[in-house]
């Protein structure tokens, strides 16, 4: 069942002439983990705002086509009903702090207060989400006194605590060091495993390749390519566009040019690369000649 259904969506911001999204068709199934990649200005953030209802309810502008999320249609709904289904976290964590609360604990309760969750349930949900996101030790700190990475986890937690059906994340690890990134992806994967639908905009290809069910590549407001991480990240279309390339894929491409790469497909993750390179570096057993076809360009199933 598609929980997100965008049909032929074209959207233009009120202050610009050319559309930010052009004829977007996108379906996301319930429980699916979809990653969105694309160069700057491709419309990734606009897509997030559309899913979260802020396009067009908040930004105004002109939207054609239909946006359907969790059974209701955007044009028929109001923003404050919409946000109960869709949670949105974005890049700059500093601006996602409400500014009206003194501690992280209260900050996380802010959204629950707004939607009228009873006090006991509120406390339980805040405690749970802090544990889930690994910020229990920050409960009594001021949200402004935290580091960028900590703030980003608070921002993510403040959305998760609302228990949305769909989680829309616009580069949630932009301020994070590798350790923080791993922790956040751990949380996102946990949510996905629990059945939450996730739409994630992210540049960190290696992470997407490990977690996402499907990847959508955007360019100039259009869907350029759509498929499994392996299909998208190793495709020549994405390579030509110059974004969304894992360094493992690049390394294997180079190896293939040099005639070293023997594996049938190009790798996206470290594990795949390790496997491929270990094949490349071991002397050819006689049966390896069967795979020779893969050395020639075009023989990689792209």
């Amino acid at each position: 069942m598609a929980i997100v259904d965008l049909k032929d969506v074209t959207y233009t911001y009120p202050t610009t002439d050319s559309p930010a999204l052009r004829n977007i068709n996108l379906q996301v199934d319930e429980g699916e983990f979809v990653a969105v990649i694309g160069p700057n200005g491709a419309g990734k953030s606009t897509l997030c705002y559309t899913l979260a209802g802020f396009v067009p309810h908040f930004f105004k502008g002109e939207l054609t086509g239909t946006v359907e999320v969790a059974g209701s249609e955007s044009s028929q709904s109001t923003l404050h009903e919409w946000v109960l289904n869709v949670g949105l976290a974005f890049q700059n964590p500093f601006n996602q702090i409400s500014g009206a609360k003194y501690t992280v604990f209260e900050e996380l309760a802010f959204g629950l207060e707004n939607i009228g969750v009873p006090r006991d349930e509120m406390k339980a949900r805040v405690v749970d989400v802090m544990e889930l996101t690994g910020i229990s030790d920050l409960a009594d700190r001021s949200p402004y006194s935290l580091s960028g990475g900590q703030q980003q986890r608070v921002a993510l937690a403040s959305i998760l605590v609302m228990q949305p059906k769909i989680l829309v994340l616009d580069e949630p690890t932009s301020q994070m060091d590798p350790i923080g990134t791993r922790e956040v992806f751990g949380v996102i994967r946990k949510m996905a495993e629990q059945g939450m639908t996730v739409v994630l905009v992210e540049h960190k290809v290696e992470w997407i390749a490990q977690f996402a069910d499907r990847v959508v590549a955007l360019k100039d407001g259009q869907v350029l390519l759509e498929g499994t991480p392996a299909e998208v990240f190793t495709s020549s279309i994405v390579e030509e566009s110059g974004f969304g390339i894992s360094r493992y894929t690049s390394a294997a491409r180079k190896a293939r040019e040099l005639g070293l790469w023997k594996s049938h497909r190009l790798p996206v993750t470290l594990d795949e690369a390790a496997e491929g390179f270990s094949q490349a570096l071991t002397p050819d057993p006689p049966s390896a000649s069967l795979r020779d076809a893969s050395r020639s360009p075009g023989g990689t199933g792209e």
Binding site: Y49, A52, F54, F58, L79, H80, V83, L84, G87, L88, A89, F90, N92, N95, Q96, I97, S98, G99, A100, K101, Y102, F105, E106, A109, F110, G111, L112, E113, N114, I115, G116, V117, P118, R119, M122, K123, S142, Y144, S145, A155, S158, I159, M162
Partner: protein, 260 residues
């Protein structure tokens, strides 16, 4: 005062009071100080009401320090300008054609009393009232959430604004902006600092508006609150009393003005 909020966390009777009790006291003191006759009312209220209250609230030192650091530029300029440029009067001394007047100095001291009263009054409230409890209590008396939010975030945002200004100052200095030297250089340096600060803040407003709406702000559901605010019937009476005092002060002032 930490760098992120004016609130000073302490265990005290003043902290425990209902936010609106403190709010109405703040209002009454402010109105009284500015309307009551008598040139030295400001000083009296600070000395005999605000400072003892600050002591009770265990924030005396913070209050004095912050009041001073916020008000000294005003105090200094008022004293200089009023005493130097007072037209006719008794000169205190004469030197190189400069003769500060006694009347000017007196008037300056009166003004300073008012400045300090306003600062100390406001800071006493901000230092002993948690922003979240203020927001909840404002909403309880029927202030719309958006207005309550604006009031509370304004209290919170001053320190973060300060921090951002320092970052911009450093950034502009590292690109060669001169910020030290004579008055002219300092004034000229003001523009490249204030402009990014204001523009940047305006751009942030949009994101912040989105961020709080994602979290159900402005939703039409009945709101709940994480913390319960202690209130007593006696405090409710006291609050009314403070409001009445404030009103009486205004009425008395107007009547006095009309009669004389």
């Amino acid at each position: 005062m930490n760098a992120f909020s004016m609130y000073v966390a302490r265990e005290s009777g003043l902290h425990k009071l209902h936010p609106l009790t403190k709010g109405s006291l703040t209002l009454a003191l402010l109105v009284a100080g500015l309307t009551l006759p008598g040139d030295w009312t400001g000083y009296f209220l600070v000395l005999f009401i605000i400072l003892p209250l600050a002591r009770w609230g265990k924030v005396l030192e913070n209050l004095v320090r912050t009041t001073w650091s916020l008000s000294w530029p005003f105090v200094l300029s008022v004293i200089l300008i009023q005493s130097l440029f007072w037209g006719k009067g008794t000169p205190i001394f004469e030197l190189w054609g400069i003769s500060p007047k006694v009347e000017g100095a007196r008037y300056a001291l009166i003004s300073v009393g008012r400045i300090i009263l306003v600062m100390a009054d406001f800071l006493l409230f901000a230092m002993t009232t948690r922003p979240d409890t203020l927001m909840i209590s404002l909403k309880q008396v029927g202030v719309p959430s958006s207005i309550a939010y604006i009031i509370v975030t304004t209290l919170q945002i001053i320190p973060s604004f300060q921090r951002k200004a320092l970052t911009i100052l450093d950034a502009q200095r590292s690109r060669g902006l001169e910020t030290e030297g004579n008055l002219f250089i300092r004034v000229r340096a003001f523009v490249p600092i204030i402009l990014p600060l204001v523009l940047g803040s305006l751009m942030e407003v949009e994101e912040r508006a989105i961020a709080i709406q994602v979290r159900g702000f402005n939703s039409n559901r009945k709101e709940t609150s994480l913390v319960e605010i202690d209130d007593t019937r006696r405090q409710a009476t006291v609050r009314k009393l403070f409001i009445i005092i404030a009103l009486l002060c205004v009425v008395a002032r107007i009547a006095w003005q009309l009669l004389t």
